[in-house]
Symmetry: C3
């Protein structure tokens, strides 16, 4: 693609050093840039790469001072308001087509007669669509995925390879379910029956996944015992996450890998939850909560802000405690000296 055309697509305000119609063929990191590449600098920390990059073009912010390139031929500078966002769009432009996506319904796929698939739906090798499933326009079911009976999948969805979606799950539009993820399997509920043994509590609720939700690989989202487990609009979940039965995840909440959320907990809107965090069951977080990696959240969080630690505390309190803890060996020594002095006095 010609640089002029690309710059237009990226809403560039200024282009510097363009000699003519340089050809851009791919996007790359600033340190890996080579001929044909467009790269970006989103952080002053990386500006020093400008002097040495081999990329043909670099997306930069509007404030960046044009450096002195001396003798060498400078890269084309494409100035935009938000460099990272523009670069993400460049990646989108140059990304290869998704593979593992078939055209049409592969002959090895098994689709129940009672299933209703829009004619534009693609179903991959050895995928299985069970009874009365409905799938909307332009959705893709990749190889080896299994879709249980009565499940509804909206438009523009991708159900990735070997994902399993059980029955009666409701999935909105533009949803991505990652490979190997399991949606709507039974929640973990047992009742003791007196002699040490447990009886399973049937899990008869369902899972609702709203529009624009994206879920990573090998993540598990359990069916509700009764009522529903719900992942609200725009939320993004990473890999290997556990979502217990009857959990609710608020709109536009982001959860990193290996985090677990126990049954009936409700996470607010616009939360950002790092990796390997654990949430006790039956608690809530309010909107705009940030939780640091490996934290253990054991109580409801009612104020927006940043929390971390085990158990999780308000950012400031947690930092103070961490500092206090670091100084503990020194404190022990100070107390020893005090004891000595008092002894001397006695």
């Amino acid at each position: 693609m010609r640089i002029a055309e690309l710059a237009k697509l990226l809403d560039a305000t200024v282009i510097e050093f363009a000699e003519g119609n340089e050809e851009i063929t791919h996007a790359s990191a600033i340190e890996d840039g080579d001929a044909g590449a467009i790269s970006f600098i989103g952080n002053p920390h990386y500006e020093h790469f400008l002097g040495s990059t081999q990329a043909s073009a670099v997306i930069v912010g509007e404030q960046l001072t044009t450096p002195n390139f001396g003798d060498r031929k400078p890269p084309v500078l494409v100035r935009v308001k938000r460099p990272y966002e523009a670069f993400a769009r460049a990646l989108e432009i140059f990304k290869p087509a998704k593979t593992l996506i078939a055209k049409g319904i592969h002959p090895s796929a098994v689709v129940a007669e009672s299933a209703q698939l829009d004619p534009t739906v693609n179903v991959g090798v050895n995928a299985y669509i069970s009874d009365r499933v409905r799938i909307g326009a332009n959705s893709n079911v990749l190889p080896g995925a299994q879709i249980g009976a009565d499940t509804i999948i909206g438009k523009n969805c991708v159900i990735h390879a070997n994902a399993v979606i059980y029955d009666h799950v409701e999935i909105g539009d533009c949803v991505v379910i990652g490979p190997g993820s399991v949606i709507g399997y039974d929640g973990f509920g047992y009742v003791p029956i007196g002699d040490g043994r447990y009886r399973k509590i049937p899990q008869v609720g369902n899972v609702i996944i709203e529009d624009d939700v994206e879920i990573g690989a090998n993540t598990t989202i359990d069916r509700a015992t009764i009522a529903e487990t719900r992942i609200k609009k725009g939320s993004k979940l990473d890999n290997l996450i556990q979502i217990g039965h009857n959990v609710e995840i608020g709109e536009n909440t982001v959860i990193a890998a290996q985090t677990g959320i126990s049954g009936s907990t409700k996470i607010g809107r616009q939360n950002v939850i790092a990796g390997q965090v654990g949430f006790t069951g039956h608690i809530t977080t309010t909107d705009n909560v940030i939780v640091g990696a490996q934290s253990g959240v054991s109580k409801s969080v009612t104020k927006a802000g940043t929390y971390f630690g085990y158990p999780a505390k308000n950012h400031r309190e947690a930092l103070k405690l961490e500092g206090a803890l670091r100084s503990l060996p020194e404190l022990i020594e100070r107390v020893r000296q005090l004891e000595e002095k008092l002894k001397e006095q006695a």
Copy 2:
């Protein structure tokens, strides 16, 4: 189902407010109850819902005082000894049939000629049953599940979609293996071979899963190096759990999601282990041990009781330490004041 018939199935001792033969069509939470629903109250904390629920019937304990419903038509009260257990039974009665379960052997499934399946066994779409596998009566192998050679599966088992069971695994009766779980893959064992490289130690033991064990989704249970990895009768494991080689889990032990148990560790009977707990290898826990979420158990636990923390400590000790830790910033201030006073004295 008529309320009278249902109450009998739930071993109700008393029915109040039944006008005639009210029809119950489903089970639901007390706050979501609507016409036709049977709900329950297992906890005084929820009794206030009785006044407003729209459920047609509510399971309650024998001690609950009948509230004054004033003008409104009260729900039928079904009194039982253990409300939660009765409600679980109601859920069982109204649950929909499992989907993804085929009738018979689906034509797309591959079953080795030497495999011996009871005629009542169902095998789903694209499942694979390898050589000399034996499967007992009324067991179901769901779509995409893979069963390795010489594995034995008992009666009334469900092997869920895309689960993988390797060879020579022994599975008892009434066992559930969740979707995407991997049973009997090689344990993680390597021996350094001098130049920084590692050689794999062949894992030639097997996995034995006893009767009534239920395992969640995307959980991994490794084959023993030699001898066996064993999950004993009645144990329940949640999702995304890692069970290392040669581990033994005692009878009726319950383990929540994302917990990991390292090689050769033996967990006792009737343990209750919360989520994201880690166990070092080669340790044991005795019977009736409870371990809190995210704990790190690095030593054998020889006394029944509750433990938590990193490293895990006895409940009382852990709470004391947590309290002490919370007061640490204040303690630092107190020591500073002591130092000042002593200075003034000097």
Copy 3:
């Protein structure tokens, strides 16, 4: 196999108590040894089993003092330089053939016409090999595995059941990808677009897995945003591990189950990382670093050594802190006494 032949294969220096050509049929643990078994003692701690084992032969070190067996018939003692390594070789000799491995290409497998498979490659039941995939000699793709377009797999590899490898992944020789693992799925990258919503950053890099790497079950290794995610030669990864986009794992590094490594972090050579460890993104570890279980590594580690804790600290510092923490309740009491004494003085 005759003991003399086996001893030769194990590079034994001495054989004691061999009566003639004892037949060895299997390998087992010293405490489970029975007639026909060869076992081993690699640790003085287990020497006491020598007096009672029923194993026909035991691999021991060269320094072990031959015990007095009294009246009973002693096992054959096979003396070697490194008992554990020799035992691993014995396990190799007696291990059963891998199951789930087909011979040739199973008729239910789907192999794209443009894929280039060496004639010795085996492809299992319902596996799928997409467009332009290349696979080298003696590699095996097990049932239900999915291989994306343009992916290259070397010689002597095993891609286990229901594993998913996305497109453009490069896999070396002698690599093992465990069952249910997902290689090359999109990294977790989103850019906020102003109104609380997020837009996905296309992940257009790839994953490179070098020779002799072994990866466990249900592990996820994300594709790079741009450039590559790389697992270097000889590294071994356990089950349920998360490797973020653009991560690099150094040569011969070992990582235990449920550990997570965030995006762009680079782990050095010969690291040993225990289970449930978390690494922040964009940090590095140098070579020969050991990290204890459940640690949280939030800063780069620039010195070889052992680290643990949350946040992870140098072994010595972490132990000191742990000791100080344990003595905290006692310290509080000591400060209380000091305060009292000073009050009395006043």
